[in-house]
Amino acid sequence: MADICTPFRLVGRSHVLFVLTPQPPITVWLGELDTWIQRSQGFFDGKPIVLDLSDVSLNKPEFIALIGDLKARNIPIIAVEGVDSELLDPELPPLMSSNRSSEVIEAAKAEPANALTVPQDVLPEPTSLVVDKPVRSGQSVVFANGDVTVLGSISSGAEVIAGGSIHIYGTLSGRAMAGVTGNAEARVICRKFNPELVCIDGTYSIIDDTTSHLVGLPVQAWLEQDQMHMRELA
């Protein structure tokens, strides 16, 4: 009898994850988080989240309480970083073991010449998403790995969330949230501007008296020193 079996496979794979970085005092930070969740309901639902605790110092009960608080908000924490390994036990999320950014820095310090021999496959593949249908009210397109291009319109009550820029060839009547993975270079570009909300890397803007003249025009929005700028596309 032929012995057919698939070999045991272990694959290294890199994912884009959202990282929450609590700030002291924790209660105030949780309050801000709640406000955010209220504005973007369902944003965290079921998404694996990493908790970066490097800005706060917590003892074990406080740490366990924080994990519980986040769980109560339906935010599943899959790993933590920036925390002493003594705080952790098998019941709690594990420490993020392969923090790439710190590894790279250490290697560069020790042997600067090695920087040139970084294998090419470490670079993440550029990806983008094209949506060829209108994004309708109540629909949410989430794409953390790059730019999103929408060929139709984003309707009132619909949202597109992208790690990179968002390009809309129709009307932007809903919400566009670009650069959500911390990309301040991301932009929102649309052919007809009438958004409910524009957000780039956490900076929000809505139509107000200073921007209402842009409604109906082709517009781009970008960040300059954490300030949202919007201008008609020339």
């Binding site: 249908k133 209108p134 309708r136 009210s137 109540g138 629909q139 139709g152 319109s153 309707s155 009132s156 009550g157 619909a158 009307t171 009547s173």
Partner: protein, 271 residues
């Protein structure tokens, strides 16, 4: 095999039931067999609009639960031989609907009728999803105002996600029926214009039904407007819609009330 058509909107009070009755009658007038199914369990209205409220013995839920045969529950219209109504139950709620039960009723109806028209309840709940589930095509009823348009947009998204056809990777044909349209108010900017609605919803336009007292009168008389006042503007709009659903190419005009012009002249004189 008959075609299943859902009449839906998201928002309530925009004219789903009125349109179901008017389209059902217009299709039946061409000699095709039509079954209209009221999915608004607990808040049924189609029986009233069809003037059949005193003839309801068994309903959709009785059929689903096996207490009555489909043929026993179907009510034949007194004016049109080929038009039938399957009423909803008024004493139950949407939880009485089951996936298997609805699928079985739909299968039996499509085997016996040319058209099965499902009158959807308002909202995006269970009842609305059951009504659209087996649809081959959808008529999305919208009033020219922003809340109705946004709710329709939401419903179109659901049609692309929740119907059996969409789940198999096919497209449900979607058509827009604009009801309660008032040309004067649209031109003066009090109402959304047709082009604006079409741009937002981006589905083909089936017909534009003008705002008219005739529609209200027909509902109160318990007769579809296409039968009750066949010469009125709304009746013409629904008849055109039915012809387009049958694949005919009909030039799109917005029917107007015939006495409108005189009314306006006298109105101005009086003012």
């Amino acid at each position: 095999m008959g075609q299943v058509m859902v009449v839906t909107s998201g928002k309530g009070g925009v004219g789903k039931t009125t349109s179901t009755a008017a389209l059902g009658a217009a299709l039946a007038q061409t000699g095709q067999t039509v079954a209209m199914v009221d999915f608004d369990v607990g808040l049924r209205n189609l029986d009233l609009v069809m003037g059949a409220e005193r003839r309801v013995v068994f309903d959709l839920i009785n059929v689903i639960q096996g207490q009555a045969k489909l043929a026993q529950a179907m009510i034949r219209d007194k004016r049109l031989d080929t038009l039938f109504l399957l009423p909803a139950s008024q004493t139950r709620d949407k939880d009485a609907l089951t996936e298997d039960g609805v699928a079985k009723v739909m299968k039996e109806l499509t085997a016996n009728f040319d058209w099965v028209i499902c009158d959807s309840p308002a909202g995006i709940g269970k009842g609305a999803v059951f009504a659209m589930q087996h649809a081959d095509l959808a008529v999305v009823v919208t009033n020219p105002e922003i809340s109705s348009v946004r709710d329709s947009d939401r419903i179109i998204g659901l049609l692309d996600a929740k119907t059996e056809k969409a789940k198999k990777g096919h497209d449900v044909e979607k058509y827009l029926l604009i009801s309660r349209y008032d040309e004067n108010r649209a031109t003066s900017g009090d109402m959304l214009q047709i082009d604006d609605i079409l741009e937002i919803l981006s589905i083909p336009l089936l017909s534009v039904v003008p705002e008219s007292q005739e529609v209200l009168r027909a509902s109160n008389l318990g007769s579809p407007v296409t039968l009750c006042s066949p010469n009125s503007a709304p009746a013409a709009a629904y008849r055109d819609a039915a012809r387009r659903l049958n694949g005919e190419v009909v030039a799109l005009t917005i029917p107007k009330e015939k006495n409108r012009l005189f009314g306006r002249i006298f109105g101005r004189r009086a003012a």
